[in-house]
Symmetry: C2
Subunit: 400 residues, 2 copies
């Protein structure tokens, strides 16, 4: 008779043991959101896997930490969703090639259909696309907005036409322009001041060298939920800048006056209002988190464990990732695994460990090719943006 | 008023013109399958996109050439399906971690559950997984089996435990073993000689260095249709070797006597029966095909066009891809685009062209890092295996 191999057996044979006991005495003070309650998936996202997601609202759905998988790409069925306004009617994705986008602030302004864009050029990029507020749920002052933990991010493949090819075709950018300002295709009831609701974002105009006007996500036409039929993709930039159902891209001398640019998505101290003098949520910072183990407060059996996770930045390649099982007292070099999909994608890392009974606080920190190191702590800010502190992203587990 | 830019306008401004006229005089003799008829999706593949696939049978579904997209990865909703026997009950994927696989021909044979495998190691690979008979539909002698054109292949991400880690844990391979022989979890009615129906394949035992016991496809648990809960993945090897619902992997001194090894999947001359002396369908050959334009006999408007496609091999990196619009008289260097996901993945290529009115035969040929070149012609063989000739894979279009 053949028996199944015991856990102890596995541990003894070849896995590395990490130090353990009493590591997380200070755990009580650490922000550890419980398993979030979840609502029903909204119609626009009805295709998603309810078991793999946490529904905060009709416009806010995050991926469970346990659902990222280890293949490198985040499947659309589990990918987070964040809309700043209700999406347009589903009918706009029925004939994607007919969608029109106006290009302005170039020498020869034009309206182009997606069918025409498809003839101009072709590119594809793997990129992490996170909500600016990913990790907001860890801020103790409870900022307004969805209390995301780790799941308002995903690594996805986008393809479409390079923006620079479109601009070249139209004679180049007009002189004096400093921003690329893009407008979403949402519609709003009459009587509302458009400036207060329009989804319109400005980024430095030079990002057109890297941006893609995309009609495809992970190999399929972009669903409405994720910005189909056409989405502006700016690799390395937070989600809000990647305008969905984009209907206009204009090179402009100034940033848009829309609220979503001028006062929202501004990093400022707690209690302050947003204004254009504060940093805007543009380029992503250096971050990593473990995806396994995934449940805070989880009890695991002693023995071997593959601790794995993801590391990413706004375009700086990831040089290394370190993992700690004792809340940051000691660190161990993790190994990368899976394809390297480029500087805007996340890299997967794994560290095989053997856990003895005890309490553990498991976390990771990324190190960039430029020598930058993911910080320990969040930077307190009013809206809970840009959280990349490794301490809050740790997973506490008990091993018996 | 802004108008949409005209096709001619696009052409004039910046795209390269390829030579055209009268290029495909000999077209009548070329095998050009029409748009295949399609049946209903079988229950095991009900989740797939019917519009993106061609259903040959309940166990044979291919991706339409137009449905591969340009993101690099083939979505599971359009991925081809080929089963050599009816799959087991859907219930086997309800609790993937409970699935058991027997490992034999090692120093310490064992049965391991998927839960145990997940503790042993972790790897992920991007790979093209083609049916051995992909392209069979182009053989004029109409071999038995599904008449696939280009769509019995896809580029996919698999993750699981490296087979070498499992073998090391179990003490290594026993002496004298030359093959890794793997058995699928299908069940068959009593009274049938198992040898005639069992899905059991042998490959050189050294492939265990590269193989993965996978529980995940494109970031999600492997669906039953694609071999969940556990599939043996051998990068660079034709689909049949990548055993679905794998229940046993044994290192053996000889190849299995199962028909699927001894007489099927053998390359032999037309009219011959299969036998073990003939080459087995193991490692993939060098191949490419265009994915756009995609419809044979299609009429396109004159103007610019992004000709794109995919190129792959059994592990040799792709050095270059050339595209011809005149059936192979002249060739143009295409550019790669999108992430390079490693030597087992396909690389995407694109060539921007401007088409004048006329007839075109558009095709591609891949060149390997070892200097090998994708051949023009198929090698005639009884079952229509391993077709990588660029001529048959061409797409004929008329431009007006």
């Amino acid at each position: 008779m053949k028996s199944t191999v015991s856990e102890v057996d596995l541990a003894r044979r070849w896995l590395v043991t990490v130090s353990a006991g009493g590591a997380v005495a200070g755990l009580a003070g650490i922000g550890v959101p419980g398993r979030a309650q979840t609502k029903s998936l909204p119609p626009v996202a009805a295709f998603k896997d309810a078991d793999a997601t946490i529904v905060h609202s009709a416009n806010g759905i995050e991926t469970r930490r346990s659902a990222f998988g280890t293949s490198g790409i985040t499947d659309v069925d589990v990918l987070f969703l964040r809309n700043n306004a209700s999406p347009p009617a589903e009918s706009i994705v029925a004939d994607p090639d007919a969608w029109r986008v106006e290009i302005d602030g170039v020498v020869s302004p034009r309206v182009l259909t997606v069918a025409e864009l498809k003839r101009i050029g072709l590119a594809s990029v793997a990129m992490v696309l996170p909500c600016s507020g990913n990790g907001r749920g860890f801020f103790p002052h409870k900022p307004s907005g969805s209390p995301w933990t780790v799941g308002a991010a995903g690594n996805t493949l986008w393809s479409g036409v390079p923006m620079r090819d479109v601009v070249r075709l139209l004679g180049g950018v007009q002189g004096g322009m400093r921003y690329m300002t893009s407008t979403g295709g949402e519609t709003f009831p009459a009587g509302i001041d458009p400036k207060t609701v329009v989804v319109e974002r400005s980024v430095p105009w030079t990002e057109m060298e890297n941006a893609i006007l995309a009609w495809e996500l992970n190999g399929r036409p972009i669903p409405l939920a994720h910005g189909g039929p056409l989405r502006l993709i700016i690799p390395g930039y937070y989600g809000v800048n990647n305008i969905k159902y984009v209907k206009r891209i204009a090179f402009t001398p100034d940033e848009t006056a829309a609220n979503i640019q001028s006062s929202s998505y501004r990093v400022r101290e707690i209690g302050q209002k947003g204004n254009p003098s504060q940093p805007s949520m543009w380029q992503m910072n250096l971050k990593s988190f473990v995806t396994h183990p995934s449940e805070n407060g989880q009890t695991l059996r002693a023995g071997p464990l593959q601790v794995h996770g993801v590391a990413f930045s706004g375009g700086t390649p990831i040089r290394a990732v370190e993992v700690s099982a004792d809340g940051g007292r000691t660190w161990h070099a993790a190994q990368f695994f899976g394809p390297d999909m480029g500087p805007y994608a996340w890299r997967q890392f794994v560290l095989p460990v053997t856990l003895q009974p005890g309490s553990y606080l498991i976390t990771s920190r990324a190190i960039g090719a430029d020598g930058s190191v993911q910080p320990e702590l969040r930077i307190e800010n009013e809206r809970g943006y840009a959280h990349n502190g490794w301490r809050d992203h740790a997973v506490a587990v008990t091993v018996t």
